[in-house]
């Protein structure tokens, strides 16, 4: 199962997992309520890399993630995923996605929630059932297959949502503040689990968060963004190695990176104040 995910197609080695080139996104162009959500975004994400996107609210993190997912189209510029257009990647279900809301379908059991993307891909029932069992093992909730979503805690629901996002073994996982609604303890546990799962499968992750320690703990690189207009202001390489544990959170290097990201964000705040813009 894990082999099929790590074996890469010939061109995957040469092209980045995600290539964002000269992307601009303007909402309501030409109207009084025009918003320059993203300006001149360039970013390459390497296969297997974990990227955290961080920045003050409204800086365009979710917009950038939705452009990669082809849920939005860029006003200009291009997004490619393993050399394919974002649109083709979406049609091929090349990525999995998870949001702050689990978005579980209340009328489906846990296993049938995980199976939905496979069902839409035309998998037969036996194969779907086998995969959903595997995914439940992966997120350590095998005994909840027949439960209904509302019988699960918020953290468990989120794990099911992740299991569903990974059900078709995508090489790319896109996450928009998936742990934002969880308490701190559950959250740290989920972060460790996510790293374990993605490392085992070699999954590339783009992860939106507004928590600095979360961004640093998870990522190979933290992409810092600033608002009005949304831009990438700094990219912090974390370089803490891939084997991260609870000890990582107490390491000196970890704090150094947290400070670095915090200062990058503070720089944005200062610049905003200098421009006389209120942050609310």
């Amino acid at each position: 199962m894990e082999n099929s995910m790590t074996v890469s197609s010939p061109e995957a080695g040469t092209s980045p997992a995600v290539a964002i080139r000269g992307v601009n996104k303007i909402f309501n162009q030409g109207k009084p309520n025009q918003v320059d959500a993203l300006v001149d975004i360039d970013l390459d994400v390497q296969p297997g890399e974990f990227i955290s996107l961080i920045g003050p609210s409204g800086c365009g993190k979710s917009t950038l993630l939705r452009l990669v997912a082809d849920l939005l189209e860029p006003t200009s510029g291009s997004v490619t995923i393993h050399g394919k257009s974002a649109h083709q990647a979406r049609v091929d279900q090349d990525y999995g996605m998870a949001f702050q809301q689990s978005g579980l379908f209340e009328w489906r059991t846990v296993e049938r929630n995980i199976e939905l993307p496979l069902e839409l891909k035309g998998w037969d029932k036996a194969a779907r059932r086998q995969r959903s069992q595997e995914m439940l093992e992966l997120v350590k909730l095998p005994e909840f297959a027949k439960h209904m979503p509302w019988q699960l805690s918020g953290g468990m629901q989120q794990r099911i949502a992740i299991a569903r996002a990974l059900a078709s073994h995508p090489k790319l996982l896109l996450m928009d503040e998936p742990f934002g609604a969880l308490d701190e303890m559950t959250r740290e546990h989920m972060q460790a689990e996510l790293l374990r799962i993605c490392a085992a499968a070699g999954t590339t992750v783009v992860f939106v968060t507004h928590s600095i320690p979360e961004a640093v703990y998870l990522a190979d690189r933290v992409v810092v963004m600033s608002p009005r207009p949304g831009r990438i202001t700094e990219i912090v390489s974390v370089a803490l190695g891939r084997d991260r544990s609870e000890l990582t959170r107490e390491a000196t290097d970890f704090f150094a990176r947290v400070t670095e990201v915090r200062e990058a964000l503070r720089g944005i705040e200062m610049a905003d104040h200098a421009k006389g813009i209120d942050d609310r």
Partner: protein, 262 residues
């Protein structure tokens, strides 16, 4: 322990209205007996009950006639309301058109349509009444389903897009299930309405074999107890409709039984 808790909860729901009902009947009986009201003015509850037992076949026959009219109209109106709402959902103007119409139909005594329909069918036909019930139910269910189809969970819709799901799959697997609670709200609201319309539409001519005709016929006569026995029959049919529509909802949208996690 779980069972006793559940029993206690059920009692807490059922007991208060039951006690209130019994108290009300006792007060009625006491008042009629003490102030010596003539039975052809207001009968005693005990007399009504006796009449209900003695003339049960009369009450039963009339209840079946009116109950069937209401049921046929409820089922047809619900199905048509659901299907039309789904089919016209792509065209916002349809519901913009139908919604004010629905309010108008609810506001004016539209049962007069029955008078018109009666002229189109034979004298002993129940069809005009059933059509009337169907129309009334249709609007209630249509409005609810239309509302439901427009209230989709944003995250669920984005997920379906990320799966590149076809519009049909999105409708079948997400929007329709999402709409079911709204549909049943419509059916539950329409169930008592169906019965009332079925009863009232009997006042506009046609055969005199339903509860509505019997109630108005006997309540004007001297056998008031029998009149109230028919009313009791109507109340029981109403209770059946209430229980039936709630049971159906309980069975079809189990995820609504408990608070949702959203």
């Amino acid at each position: 322990m779980n069972a006793t808790v559940r029993l206690r909860n059920a009692l807490a729901v059922v007991l208060p209205p039951l006690v209130l009902g019994v108290l009300f009947l006792a007060a009625w009986q006491a008042w009629v007996v003490v102030s010596d009201v003539q039975p052809f003015v207001i009968p005693r509850p005990t007399d009504i009950w006796r009449s209900f037992i003695d003339d049960f076949d009369l009450v039963w026959k009339a209840s079946v006639v009116t109950g069937m009219n209401a049921l046929v109209g409820l089922v047809l109106g619900s199905l048509i309301g659901f299907v039309v709402a789904v089919l016209t959902n792509r065209f916002a103007f349809v519901s913009d058109l139908v919604n004010p119409l629905a309010i108008t139909v609810a506001a004016i005594p539209a049962v007069v349509i029955v008078g018109v329909l009666n002229n189109m069918y034979s004298l002993d036909s129940q069809i005009p009444r059933r059509i009337m019930v169907t129309i009334s139910v249709f609007f209630v269910v249509f409005v609810q389903v239309t509302k439901g189809l427009r209230q989709n969970d944003a995250t669920q819709m984005e997920l379906m897009r990320s799966y590149a799901a076809s519009p049909f799959d999105t409708l079948k697997k997400v929007r329709l299930p999402n709409t079911m609670p709204f549909f049943f709200t419509g059916v539950r609201t329409a169930a008592p309405l169906a019965l009332i319309i079925a009863l009232v539409s009997e006042y506009f001519g046609g055969t005199q074999d339903g509860l509505g005709s019997k109630i108005s016929g006997t309540l004007n006569g001297s056998n008031k107890a029998l009149g109230f026995a028919y009313v009791l029959g109507g109340a029981l049919v109403g209770l059946l409709f209430f229980a039936g529509s709630n049971l159906l909802e309980y069975l079809v949208v189990p995820w609504r039984r408990r608070g949702r996690s959203k």
